[in-house]
Point group: C2
Chain length 331, copies 2
């Protein structure tokens, strides 16, 4: 134990791990792209594929899906897709930024056939990193807004702040209006669609602010690699994160919008076929066919019996108004 | 919806995703290897690095660590390392097999300086895949066996089965002996060290059996890719998993040994520096310094203040008998 290990040594190692993680994410994205395209082609022919996948959504998401949301997903969700728009090549671009696209058939609640939400992975000068997003305009039909005006009010504040050129402004009248709306709806609004209005767990961070912070961060990282001590002032800057006056939580319309985005991108999206099979099995079980339950829990890779489940057979959706489907025949 | 999607189509897509996952795991392993070596070198100079990391072990593991285990880890764990011994190159070898090595200083419980447990990712003809492991011999000192004979009995059964040439044998006398021991200890043995005796969540699968099953699986996969229909008999073989007579749970000394291995390999191992920092922060907090708690929960990347935490300062371990450390100075 001759020489001590410094903060800079361990932080430099963590920097290098983060770089490898990004490289691996990019590599995986490039490798999987053709296969996701092939899957999209295949599942487009499977009735109710995405509604059945969404039925199996992990708890983090399921908890926000109201019965009304569930009816919309069950009857009208025709496609879901996830891309990583900032990946430029296998070696360049931030792979943590996400774009999540929902496609819908005509329905009673909104006019949109596509609702696409983009999440940008950004950095601030004080060391915070995370996802931020612009509110998405949902064209609600009259009297049919599932979010009770929250997506509209979130977008209105965002636009008002852009107009005054200050994305932190609390002086615009839209701020007070949204604050009141959020306070009022607290605990009572549970529509998943409010998520389309989500901005940040802290506050919005523009691309320009993030680029500047990334440049400074890269310089410190290089300095660390050269073995230079980072000045105390620089470190303080990195450490004193999360100034309170920056906090925008009083006007945030949805909790943990970033976690929802990551769960969709890293769990639902890659594992969609597995969730689909699970949904089918859940329906089999609810048909009072419980005898395979013990077997189904062994091993980490389940044999898939989709033969009886796809091939064009219509599946019932959660609250279909049609006649109940015939019980699936067991060979 | 002109042509139907078959079981074979979706299963073939899942096969291809699994191949990409393996390729990515291998790639990540090769890319990270030099950095893990660098980290090992750095953290070897940080007093109590691995004991502090283990203190932050996720619930799945923590639940199995008894106060006595905790004392052994706290005082005597000098190193931890994870390798993937079946990776041959960036393009070949099963990346899911694991080797987990604990290193210890001289202690009152066992003679071993190294306890290394290997997990092999294997397949059976009926479609089961998962990790299996041989029991590890722990050279317990007299009267100091933390597992009350369970690791020894697990090893004895394994050796006896090897001798009779039947790894499923329930006729050897060591089977009954271990069954009784497991039944007796059920609920009362909670030493983490019992994990070194773990074999499988189902039963042991030899390399030969697994190779044969993998070859058959590869043939079916190729047939699927060529668009051939897999015969019903072949599919049944794949689907009727988990024959009951194969189940060895009555002589399994530890639950979910595979999950523990994966948690160590995929969480503790890559995130060790983060866990170390968390452990330091937890000690800061227990020093009644709670004012940063709110800030610490924002953002997904915490600024790390390890400066005051490393650089050769001795840290207390969980139940150190020495004097308490001086309270860390805050600038």
């Amino acid at each position: 134990m001759s020489e001590a290990v410094s903060y800079e040594d361990l932080a430099a190692i963590e920097d290098d791990f983060a770089e490898i993680d990004d490289e691996i994410l990019r590599k995986q994205y490039e490798l999987s792209k053709p296969l996701f395209a092939k899957r999209a082609e295949a599942v487009s022919k499977v009735p109710h594929f995405w509604p059945l996948v969404m039925e199996q959504a992990p708890m983090e998401i399921e908890t926000f899906i109201s019965p009304q949301d569930s009816a919309v997903f069950g009857e009208h969700l025709t496609n879901l897709s996830v891309t990583r728009p900032e990946i430029e090549s296998a070696t360049a671009g931030n792979p943590k930024s996400l774009s999540i696209k929902f496609e819908f058939s005509a329905n009673e609640h909104f006019e949109d056939e596509v609702l696409e939400k983009q999440f940008w992975h950004r950095r601030t000068a004080d060391g915070w990193t995370g996802l931020v997003s612009e509110p998405v305009k949902v064209h609600w039909k009259k009297g049919k807004d599932l979010t009770d005006g929250l997506t509209d009010a979130s977008l209105a504040l965002f636009e008002a702040r852009k107009k005054v050129g200050d994305m932190k402004s609390k002086a615009v009248q839209e701020y007070k209006a949204l604050e009141k709306k959020v306070e009022h709806s607290n605990g009572s609004n549970t529509s998943f669609f409010t998520w389309f209005g989500w901005v940040s767990n802290r506050r919005y961070v523009s691309a320009e602010e993030s680029d500047k912070a990334n440049q400074e961060y890269a310089q410190r990282k290089e300095a660390r690699k050269r073995g230079e001590k980072v000045s105390a002032a620089e470190l303080e800057k990195e450490i004193d994160e999360g100034e309170d006056e920056d906090d925008d939580s009083a006007v945030e319309v949805h909790e943990n919008g970033d976690d929802i985005a990551v769960t969709i991108a890293d769990d639902i999206w890659p594992n969609a076929i597995k969730f689909f099979v699970q949904a089918q099995e859940a329906e089999d079980l609810s048909d009072a066919d419980m005898d395979d339950l013990d077997d189904a829990e062994e091993g980490d890779e389940e044999p898939i019996d989709i033969r009886s489940l796809v091939q064009g057979k219509e599946k019932r959706s959660r609250d279909s108004s049609g006649p109940p489907p015939a019980k699936k025949a067991k060979k």
